[in-house]
Symmetry: C2
DNA sequence: TGCCAATGTAAGCAACCACTTGCATACACC
DNA sequence: GGTGTATGCAAGTGGTTGCTTACATTGGCA
């Protein structure tokens, strides 16, 4: 493994667990198994190293794609949520630290914030398309709905480390639980038997049987 | 204003914008308009000051209460969301910083996490009561639903400072947008004309008229 | 007036920080 | 063998940090 690369990943790891002030050049170099001077010879300054490490870390793409034309909203939103949630969980520590230092290093925070802003636009467009195609109700706002689904996944991914008792579901099944509620919110039918392996146990036993809505009581 | 109190609020403010490593005793004292030595004479050490400041800050109660017995779910959940959201917005900087330092100072993070964990239990109990009383559908999980509503409000409150363009709604109306979606998710009717002042403009024009659900197409 | 507690000023300490200089070592390539 | 390049080691620079010591000032109260 190249020395530069070792230093970059070490910088990211130390940053995650100590913040930029706690990420001292000594600690980063030691984490990379490299002399501290090598760090300066390669990157010139700590600031340059940190900014490069953060930039290349948040450039990692999210591997969840929504089709331009929706076909099976339940299945597509579930797959999308799984991918996005996994990405959030993988980078949870970095995201938390970068958010915590937004006031002191707004550029780092903005670099981390670029990704979700773009993803939000994609989801919003997909949801609007659902409405156009008659695949969902039309009496809700795609922007708010997109914020809702993303926010739910985000705060689960961030809070799971801080309040484990608040999240009894496994990371694997949590997104499905939220998506189920979300589909009801936007007026999409609950998924049919698409995923026989994981479809059934995610709802309460009396599933669907008592779906009463009080209409003008 | 007492010197102790001035130091505590100054410590909190500096912590919010610089983190615990950036919150130097010199800076806190200067922020409080007090000599640095007075800080040590009052609190003995920086760690003691910070822990007391954080403890008393996160002890501030959330002023949103849910009734033990639900009467008007839409109105009650909307009021609850408004209160909780306002509290989150007020403490957003502190919460972000504390979350970012979870790895280095887990006790501070746990002290901040205590409040939402308790609130989550209250909301979950309320939602379960809604189901028992037949005021909502029964084919969803109160735990996941509580996480969803809280997570939505939380990530809006945290992200609004970092990505203003992602949140075009004002802080005043954002909770209502989410609550509207949430009520649909849990199968509660949209609020009737309870809030004539703010009820109408929060839904799309064709409100309720095209609430179609594809049933076994 | 004298006393005492709270606060301020000045100076400094050891530890740590980012970063530099000077020199030794290793290894690849000609 | 000679040369250049990458790395390591030792030491040190000026600056900051948490915290201390010693002494002066203030103001309320007996």
């Amino acid at each position: 493994m190249d020395v530069r690369e070792k230093l970059l990943t070490a910088a990211l790891k130390v940053f995650e667990e100590a913040g930029s002030r706690g990420a001292t050049t000594r600690r980063i170099a030691s984490e990379a198994g490299v002399n501290e001077i090598t760090l300066f010879r390669h990157f010139g300054s700590k600031a340059a190293l940190m900014s490069e490490a953060l930039a290349c870390a948040s450039a990692a793409p999210v591997e969840n794609r929504l089709p331009a034309e929706p076909v099976d909203p339940a299945r597509e939103l579930l797959a999308w949520s799984h991918g996005g949630y996994a990405h959030l969980r993988r980078n949870a520590a970095m995201i938390r630290t970068a958010m915590g230092e937004m006031e002191q290093a707004p550029d780092a925070a903005r670099c981390v914030a670029a990704n979700p802003a773009r993803v939000h636009e994609q989801l919003k467009a997909y949801l609007a398309r659902l409405q156009e195609r008659g695949l969902a109700s039309t009496d809700w706002d795609p922007h708010a709905a997109s914020s809702m689904l993303m926010g739910t996944l985000f705060s689960d991914a961030m809070g799971r480390d801080m309040m484990p008792e608040k999240y009894p579901y496994s990371e694997a099944e949590a997104p499905a639980r939220y998506v189920l509620l979300f589909l009801r919110a936007i007026g999409v039918d609950a998924p049919a038997a698409h995923h026989p392996a994981e479809g059934s146990p995610l709802q309460d036993p009396e599933r669907g049987s008592t779906h009463q809505r009080r209409r003008d009581p």
